[in-house]
Symmetry: C2
Subunit: 372 residues, 2 copies
């Protein structure tokens, strides 16, 4: 955030500046840059970082980085009015002034190239390709002075910045903290994986992504109600922190897993869970691509220890949750429901088996499915 | 092991050498030295290593090392007939020739000093103090030439040397392997901890100690029957290796935990489980002393990643195994039986609750308790 006097000087200048309205993803990114969640980024990427991320999955400095953090013009907008070396006033979707971009560089990007390298597909059905289609052809890069943070109606008591989580972890005496990224309700499978992780770490950060997701994902407020219900009933309160993660989903699978991991390091976490098809969508990525991509880097470069898990299920043979790594049972002894099955059950008001989900969570989802 | 020609030369010489009969612990140690399980040791410790282990918990070279690996004279035996610079023929308890000690150094040790520093007690009730009482006052140190390995009636197909386990792990494609040291049957609590470990490692080595234990520990053949029953029914066979660990127990708690960890590194393991009161006996050590001692060393020095766990129990609230780290439930919702309770049940032929132990394991123990 800009200092007080600088803030007033910049605020006073904004009416005379070229202006740009940020979309939801860009607003999330601006906030994450402002609070240090995307450290070492101090603004939207200039071309050298952008190219380096596309071609080498690293910032120009060498730090592993998965996806571009970029500011785009609207489709059809001319880049003429944005001059390198000048400031640009940035507004949120509701006309709120957010900050000033000290424009260093503007360039016309190649959407196909970005899609191929970051999303590994050019298929128009991929939500990441749809996003690229929705924006203009120009990116503006440069350092940011953030004047006001985006304001939200929801989850404000769960909005913890990296500085907040770091202090909190210290206060709670956590020497090791594992972060769990999620954009879904937590059923038994993920409850199990977070608890495995918690056995080897002092603390657990349940860190649901609440930035923009695709339309058919379960809304964040329903998910938050599920998490709270679950934590109240089935987790030890003094070891678990629930906070929201403001990033927008890219659905970039392996590339996005790197972003998710590095940002959680910035929140003070020491461990990060990477499950099957992390940040994936449809069948664009192999089940373990998002785990394998980390092999391209040394553990020191990543700087946060990865816990790579397989899908979990209830195993009738052992009477416990397990994965293929810990259960020798046959398929028919495993309780694994498909997303489609579960959605159908919830819509009909049926509670899925307790081996699949906790009844308290099912009830929140049934209410949402029937009233939503 | 000595090379063929050297072996014959040494064998031929043994009748003319001073001779020493090894006790059970020393025989185990000789074997472990011979197969590289105690690498870098190449023989029984000389005084500089011994003193360094007592005073600094390290070999003279600096490598972390918890307990002395030493060869003792019998009580009342004179050290006169053992001359520094000469060879000593070493025999097993059954008159089997085991090897030759190239005696470098003999010295009179201070049992109180060793007990205080290694066992952290001089209490005569501690099995380690009883052992010290059972041996003479002199230690003989020097390099070993092993001529014949101790022969065993039992568990021969489970006797895997470090070279065997390393090859096996490679063949099975394990990049990470966690070792579980145990001298007890595995009930649900330890099954759970090994499975937590297996979720984050490719393979699991169940590595029960079968060297000498105190008289009231459950005999190794009963335990082996329990492990086999458990693995057959409740573990994925392709990820778990069962092999015996020939060391004799010291019951030295934290000090012995270091030995257990370093030796498992020699077997090719990357991770090692340290539970509550590891290698402890009675109430000589704090519950987490054997975990805390590793904080005195850097992870690089130890060279094997420690998984430090708390006691596990069945949690009725969540319907799953848990520890205090993962369960918020009240004490009355936890199924935790004392060893005394379990022994009493087994003796009466009663199967403990399935939340405590698998019925197949209980049946093996009941048979042993009633017929043993």
């Amino acid at each position: 955030m800009a200092l007080c006097s600088e803030r007033e000087r910049l605020l006073a200048a904004t009416p005379r500046l070229a202006r740009l309205e940020l979309n939801s993803r860009e607003t999330s990114d601006l906030e994450m840059i402002a609070v240090g969640a995307m450290s070492p980024l101090q603004g939207f990427m200039t071309r050298s970082d952008y190219d380096s991320v596309l071609d080498h999955t690293r910032l120009k400095s060498g730090l592993p980085w998965g996806v571009p953090i970029v500011l785009s013009l609207k489709p059809g907008d001319s880049a003429e009015s944005y001059k390198e070396g000048e400031d640009v006033a940035l507004y949120g979707e509701n006309e709120q002034i957010l900050g000033v971009l000290h424009l260093e560089q503007k360039w016309k990007m190649d959407k196909q190239d970005e899609a191929r390298k970051i999303l590994r597909t050019e298929d128009g059905a991929h939500p990441g390709c749809q996003y690229l289609k929705s924006i203009g052809d120009w990116y503006l890069g440069g350092r940011l002075s953030v004047l006001d943070r985006p304001r939200y109606e929801k989850f404000n008591k769960f909005r913890l910045d990296p500085v907040d989580t770091r202090v909190l972890f210290k206060t709670l005496g956590f020497k090791s903290v594992v972060a769990f990224q999620t954009r879904n309700p937590i059923h038994r499978a993920h409850e199990y994986l977070t608890k495995v992780a918690l056995e080897i770490c002092d603390g657990l950060l349940i860190h649901p992504l609440v930035g923009e997701t695709k339309g058919d994902d379960i809304p964040a407020d329903v998910r938050m109600a599920c998490y709270q219900m679950l934590l109240e009933n089935y987790y030890p309160r003094q070891r678990v922190v629930l906070a929201v993660y403001p990033q927008a989903m890219r659905y970039a699978g392996p590339r996005e897993a790197i972003l998710h991991a590095i940002c959680r390091k910035n929140y003070g976490c020491t461990h990060f869970i990477v499950g099957r098809d992390h940040a994936g969508v449809g069948s664009y990525y192999g089940s373990f691509d998002a785990q394998a991509i980390f092999d391209e880097f040394s553990p020191q470069e990543i700087g946060i220890t990865l816990l790579k898990f397989e899908n979990a299920f209830w195993c009738r043979k052992t009477g416990s949750m397990a994965t293929a790594k810990t259960s020798g049972s046959a398929a028919e002894e495993r309780v694994m429901l498909s997303g489609t099955q579960v959605r159908a059950m919830l819509k009909e008001g049926k509670i899925p088996p307790v081996e699949f989900t906790r009844p308290e969570v099912a009830r929140v989802l049934i209410d949402a499915a029937q009233n939503g």
